[in-house]
């Protein structure tokens, strides 16, 4: 039971970071200016690295729990599971949109990750704590970088302000899901190694409000929130992400790369 909870929790953390890394990576070579193309790719690489740590941990746990089954690996977990297996929150799989939309999503996510990892550093599970400690350094920079960009674009020109306002409208209803505990998160909290996401919400909103104020953007009322990603009920976008990402592993199932 506890092992299954830990596996699910790790997979959740892995899926979130992988899918967002994949989306951000689409920008590589297409950014608004070279310096920022490089900066966003750094974030994508950090997230990809985090997802690998979580997948590797999940794989170890799965293999320990099922010693007689065919072993799984970080790659089989990333490339051989289907849409309903993925637990990532919906906001990570949404299309990039323009640079402002991408930045805003990154800001929302980094602000959440920052709070999450701060707590997870003290997790009773030593591996999760270690990954959180390493990743927190990365996320601290992501949060700083994305906050500044939200401010720049919100407070920049009339056009950039309008674009950011649209991005807020576009993304806001996807910001609630992360704070609603899925069954595996409840299990994780009960087992003592997980973080109750609801406990992060007020600090998150405070950070968003702080940055939005400086960016001259309005924080929308909470309103209806889209959910489903954590339990495998995704948007149509994820299927296409996986079709692309998993293509080679699916087309050549016997191959190693």
């Amino acid at each position: 039971m506890s092992s299954q909870a830990l596996i699910n929790y790790s997979l959740y953390l892995a899926d979130n970071t992988l899918i967002l890394a994949q989306r951000n990576a689409e920008w590589c070579g297409h950014g608004p200016i070279l310096e920022q193309d490089i900066a966003l790719t750094n974030i994508s690489l950090d997230l990809l690295g985090q997802s690998r740590s979580f997948y590797q941990y999940a794989a170890t746990l799965i293999n320990e729990a099922n010693p007689s089954a065919t072993p799984v690996s970080e790659d089989s977990l990333a490339f051989r599971r289907d849409v309903y297996d993925f637990k990532n929150i919906l906001i990570t799989e949404l299309p990039n949109g323009d640079w402002g939309n991408t930045i805003l999503r990154q800001f929302f996510f980094s602000a959440y990750q920052f709070l999450l990892y701060q707590q997870m550093k003290q997790s009773s599970d030593a591996t999760l704590a270690a990954i959180a400690e390493k990743s927190l350094k990365e996320v601290t920079y992501h949060l700083r970088w994305s906050s500044e960009w939200v401010i720049r674009l919100g407070d920049g020109t009339e056009e950039s302000h309008d674009r950011m306002t649209s991005a807020v409208e576009n993304l806001w209803s996807f910001t609630g899901e992360v704070f609603e505990a899925a069954p595996f998160e409840k299990d994780a909290v009960e087992a003592g190694f997980g973080i109750d996401p609801a406990s992060l919400k007020s600090a998150w909103l405070e950070k968003v409000t702080e940055i939005f104020t400086e960016a001259t953007l309005a924080v929308p009322p909470s309103g209806w929130m889209q959910t489903g990603g954590k339990t495998g009920k995704h948007s149509e976008y994820l299927g296409f992400i996986l079709a692309e990402m998993q293509f080679l592993q699916r087309a050549y199932p016997d191959a190693s790369w």
């Binding site: 990576a25 070579g29 950014g31 070279l34 920049g156 056009e159 790369w257």
Partner: protein, 315 residues
């Protein structure tokens, strides 16, 4: 001092292997040649991100994805270092980019070929980066200081690029029959275009002679090409693959590999814009730049506002 005297001093420095630095006097034609060559080099790095960038979202493992992402990102960095080198010559990055987007400036034709399979990512690393590295190692000793330093930095970073390409092909060559086929197919398609990367034959290359006197280039196109063929003809054996050239044969007399005739008709056509991806590549870069215009303007406007606010506070 007369121009003739300045030129004499300039050439003496070059002959004594003293690097030319941005503030030093230099003939206008030297400056122009450098701007042309360095910006072409920069554009090649930036356009070069696209064919490989294609496969970032499709890389077959998480490790390969991370490597490829880091590698394509490095190319953005290389482009950046090189644009900075042209800026020391008084040409802004914006101007240089305008020349690319208008189609006036050239870039390496190799990037006008498509990446069709994962094998192509291996072949680009091994062959295309391999060819580029030979050039860039030579350019570490180029006579213009900032260009030389940019190349030194590039070579340092690029040393893993060719290895990761070869590593991809190694794994394919030892894999399933389908993977072996992917490997051979990629080599077949990238071999000749890689040879073309070294440019026209000596004697047909318009800029070569003066560039050699100025020590911008230190080896001829054909010399570098031969060096490349000798290197690759040996390495391909380790892969257990073949190069698509029936005339490729070691010549004990010259200690070089003889090789077949390059299709120069194809070469000139791709240079003129008729390659399979010329339009697509340029369009992609134009779009990225145009889509980024509002972002660049907003960042600048915000910075101005912040400065104004700070000034107000002081006042």
């Amino acid at each position: 001092m007369s121009v003739q005297e300045l030129e004499k001093i300039f050439q003496q420095k070059i002959d004594q292997e003293i690097k030319i630095e941005p503030k030093d006097w230099m003939p206008d034609a030297y400056r122009k040649t450098l701007v042309r060559q360095i910006s072409q080099h920069a554009h090649s790095e930036i356009i070069g991100m696209l064919p490989e960038g294609n496969w970032i979202t499709r890389a077959p493992s998480l490790k390969r994805k991370a490597i490829l992402l880091a590698k394509v990102q490095d190319e953005a960095g290389h482009g950046l270092y090189l644009y900075a080198a042209t800026e020391t010559l008084g040409t802004s990055r914006e101007q240089t980019l305008d020349d690319l987007h208008s189609g006036k400036a050239k870039y390496s034709s190799i990037f006008n070929y498509p990446t069709l399979t994962w094998g192509d990512i291996g072949a680009i690393g091994w062959l295309v980066d391999g060819a580029a590295i030979l050039n860039q190692v030579m350019l570490c000793r180029t006579s213009y200081g900032p260009y030389s330093r940019a190349n030194i930095r590039i070579c340092k970073e690029e040393s893993f690029h060719q290895r990761q390409g070869f590593d991809i092909l190694m794994v394919l060559s030892q894999g399933t029959p389908e993977q072996k086929a992917i490997c051979q197919d990629a080599i077949n398609r990238w071999w000749w275009p890689s040879l073309m990367m070294f440019g026209p034959k000596d004697g047909e290359s318009t800029h070569s002679e003066q560039s050699t006197i100025w020590k911008i280039k230190r080896k001829s196109n054909d010399e570098l090409r031969q060096q490349f063929v000798n290197m690759i003809a040996e390495q391909v054996k380790i892969l257990g693959m073949t190069l698509p050239d029936a005339d490729l044969k070691f010549n004990p007399a010259t200690k070089n590999y003889d090789f077949g005739e390059i299709d120069w008709n194809e070469f000139w056509n791709v240079v003129k814009g008729n390659g399979p991806c010329n339009k697509q590549r340029l369009e992609t870069r134009r779009k990225a730049h145009a889509d980024g215009a509002w972002v660049r303007a907003a960042a600048e406007a915000h910075s101005e506002k912040r400065k104004a606010r700070a000034a107000q506070k002081v006042a």
